[in-house]
Symmetry: none
Subunit: 304 residues, 5 copies
């Protein structure tokens, strides 16, 4: 596997991590059409758990089949594919070694009575399935946030011991955070910071809006120019150890193509590392998804 | 490492502790410009977790980078640097062996719905990262205080088994404590006492005010002269095994320089062991912070 | 990583193995200039342990430096690099993710008083160092063979649990085997068979000679035509589950280039999977080694 | 799977065993053309380990491929297939659930310097590969017999804990036993008794000859009529808890067909449970082997 | 603790090691009068175990007291003090933190019936006593060498997990090595190589003589100029990963001062990292020892 100078420099950020963990981070950074650029596009498919199958896959029925997502990620030249245990396993043999996989080890669902997540897989599963990383969601702001952080801590320790990487979905939500707060620029930056402090190697947050939500933080943002997504993304990167963590931004709800591309340009221009984009890909017919991913990759390559 | 007579005498306080733990206490006491004096100045950087990145670092943007704090603590000649897992790791290789580190193993955050903390790291992390101590916050008075104490007990046992030192942030708060109570002299003294009783080697409390808060304690303080910070600090020291524990005082919110120096003189004159001072340092431009720390150190050296 | 149809078919041989193990086998088969062909060239450097440093490296002093071997294997486009703990570690950070590594977990040495090996590393080391496989030597025929097999069994179980591949060096030797017997065709075939039965994924044996050594086996070889190396290699492959294991052949003692190439052609023509070739590479000046490896690769590519 | 009254009665013999273990014994007894009769024919293929590949498979080269043996056992309607780790694994996916497998967990080889065996697999492997039983060889009379028995005890305990059955190959050999002694009727009966005492569920011994070998036993056999194989087999069955263990007899070296059939009739008429017959099957062309196995099954069915 | 650029570069050699381990290596390299130079002088006192108390300490009776050695090492400005459990413990409180200690975890003795060593302490002891490293002796060439290596492997894994450094005494001896062989240049180089391959951070060997001992190695040394100690030391350093391990040389038997100084100059000029010198120090009156150590340090400083 060719490891570019850019990636070698990025691996240097991860002080104190084992060569095994660094090799798995490198594997994600050096796969697909963005290999070696420091940019990444990841396909996450946990919506079947989060929203149920029909809400997730009926817009594009071939996506009911787990193999569909492996094929999409591989053919589009993405960096990695992230999903819960059953999805990863169904395809792990057929596509062994073809794309780095991230085992999503906790999940929520729409039938749940609380805004928590269940731990549904672990490090042994990840090793057995040949994954490069585990993925874990925390909800800062939720009543369960401390419990989730303690689960994350245990899994992180075990994952690093086994030479795996750790990807954290840091999604603020909870009783004191209204809908606007969940994507407020101060909250997104805070979410990224907490994931970094917990030891995450790759951090996933939502693209931040111009909102500043926490009263206590408003003074700190007095002089902040958050007029463009690029500027807001730059602030999130700054909040991730001065840019020394890989931070990827979710695609959010399905939207029109130009909206997607504009968002990706903002992420790129703000120095974000890339996109982790699920519904916007697998809810389109495959050809459309391939065309869209091609364009996104070209944007990250600076060609579009 | 030169261990002064003063420090040797102080190590004698820690009866029943292993030589490994004493060596780590010694390491903190014998590093930096105050080495060997029994006085300490420690840089704590957990505000990114507690208050979020912008509130913590936007006043001085270079501080977004974890290396900044290592450099600041080393260049200013401080005794130790304390931070959560991600901050300590990001620099642990580059600055290996250059300054004792204290791994803050629990953390709260401003999005939390409860006045608790999450355990975010442990003793294995501390050993792997070469830390001299773990740091743990308890909130005596909170609904979570007993749980926190039980977490502290487990971590303390494990840390001492591994030859590490234990630093306890003892911060009273909770439903029966109003704002004034949190820094009342009786409450601060009580907080220090509880930390000592739990087995802490180094205790961090807030500088006490003249307030006496607990009704039940008022009679005991009838003849107490708490008119100066020095006298109040002396009482906190007395409450820490007759001065036989290292007690350091937080700097609290950013304030003007003279306010900082006056407080430090009070701590010194009351026999306190030193300051653990975060926001007041890293929220200033580096040169200002260096000048301020120089002055603080000179105060503890009795030169200013 | 592109996994060719050839490799996908080969992965199908490894029934009962986890996707993690298959992915690591795929990683070895899909790296370097022979990626995807089913052919492999591996650089093994355990001669420092086996024969001592001067006998190993004095013919080409840059080879004293562990980084040299990483560079050689990467630049020559080999499939993997195999070495003991210290050698793999010294380079594991610098070359993280650049080439699959095989941690040789037992080693003999020339000062030893018995024909045994010491277990010098394990699966935890392999995970921490990001290795794709562990490597283990057995000496069928030795007084220690049963003990070695039992060590191998334990390590194999643990390696497979962790999603690693297992490479077995099967080198017959012992009181009843004279020099000629050690490379006799019946003995080499038997050695390969035993490694396969023990659960090895990749098997290393010596190129077999025309000798048939075991009296009890002579009748079975009555009609066997072992007149060319290709025919003898074909028999070894047949003895490795009808060719359904990856079998690589050692290069043996340093020899002249034409001798090396002729041997490689024999391995290729007999359907062997490749060469694991140490001394013949690193004991030459680097340019010569690169030229030789280029030629060997071309032979396996059917171009030379 | 239909469990006949005969088999239900036989399961009643195995007092103290778990339902899981009984279900696995039932699985062996209720598979193939002899299902439910209490008779069994098992295919064992460990000769590749014991004698090497060419001696084992060159008489019938398709047998080099592990799949061959699965197919043979399934197509001939046998009760089970027994082999070492690599052989069982290579086919475990393709033939999952099609025939009960017995994982042979220790093995000797013809290069060995001592008459011992190596433990080459274990209960975890058997569970992972879906085996019904483990198989283990002891050599009563050998210098290693006590060690082997202690290994057997550990593995038996573990196997029964996991609901597996235990098959013991009980093959007397050693310094005080000459060639004739190894198949002497008193020795065979003794070997079966020891296996039963060790907790074996299925016992494999060699067909006994008329020889009485142990001097100390001769008086006991004074009135014994061992003139036919049936009478000798009946004595072995008697020695196996009065017939309350499943005892199968090996086929020994390849012999002519009539010899094989005569031996099988003797086993049947003496009340033996069946045959475990390797070389005589897989060293013939497949059609011949199928015809022979058909005849053997008809003999056990009382039709031939 | 000031970590010089030289030491920072040296820490870079130890790829794959945790910051904790690197910090402990740094602690040894940055203590005493040679701090930061990359040179080290270590006091080892295991002769009480190896040779008995009178042979060790009667030439200088104050040395019977374990405190004597702590004082000597500290006052002379050495880098570290190495001794068995009891010696380290007796003084661990009194001198906590004053000098890095190396817990010698195996030991031989003069009453022993075999040329082996007993493991007499472990990693938990080292942590509890505040040691920077464990020390372990292997005897390559002995009948116990493989067992010792396997003990070392276990202890090394555990030590590195706990952030400790590993020092290996590599002392060839055994039935095939005569007295001259034990210090032969080829054997010393081989001993250093094996320690490095086992994962040692600091290697102790004996100063090599001009002898080349192994017949098989003689050809490799044909053109080797070993006429001075410096040249021979340079070869040992080359054999230690091209100089990328810290290698220290024992002082051997007590000798006259000029002999000691000459040897130290040879080590220095050959690029060796320093001396580990026991009997030559503690068997002299303290003032003489201090003078001698002062001179040795000056030699390593290039001043003498």
């Amino acid at each position: 596997m060719r490891v570019s100078n850019t990636v070698r420099r990025m691996l240097g950020w991860y002080e104190g991590e084992s060569p095994g963990t660094k090799a798995n981070i490198a594997r994600i950074l050096c796969t697909g059409r963005l290999a070696g650029t420091g940019k990444v596009v990841i396909l996450p498919v946990d919506q079947g758990f989060e929203h149920g199958p029909a809400r997730s896959f009926s817009p594009n029925p071939p996506a009911y089949d787990p193999h569909y997502h492996y094929q999409l990620a591989i053919q589009a030249g993405l960096n990695a594919y992230a999903a819960p245990l059953g999805m990863i396993a169904q395809g792990a043999d057929s596509y062994a070694g073809q794309i780095p996989t991230i085992l999503k080890v906790n999940s929520s669902n729409s039938l749940a009575t609380s805004k928590d997540q269940a731990v549904t897989a672990g490090v042994k599963d990840a090793l057995r399935l040949g994954c490069a990383a585990i993925g874990f969601t925390i909800y800062p702001g939720s009543e369960y946030a401390f419990d989730q952080m303690e689960e994350l801590r245990e899994l992180t320790l075990e994952a690093k011991d086994a030479g795996l990487a750790v990807v954290v979905w840091s999604y603020p939500r909870g009783p004191n955070l209204d809908r606007a707060a969940e994507t407020a620029v101060d909250i997104c930056a805070y979410a990224a910071q907490m994931a970094a402090l917990m030891g995450a190697h790759i951090i996933k947050v939502k693209p931040p809006t111009e909102v500043v939500s926490l009263d206590a933080a408003k003074k700190s943002y007095a002089g902040f120019d958050g007029s463009t997504l690029a500027k807001r993304v730059a602030h999130v990167m700054q909040s991730s150890f001065a840019g020394k963590r890989v931070v990827v931004f979710s695609g959010g709800e399905a939207k029109d193509l130009e909206g997607v591309y504009e968002e990706v340009r903002g992420i790129r221009d703000g120095g974000g590392n890339g996109s982790i984009i699920g519904r916007n890909t697998f809810q389109r017919p495959k050809d459309d998804a391939m065309a869209m991913l091609n364009k996104i990759i070209e944007i990250y390559q600076g060609k579009a």
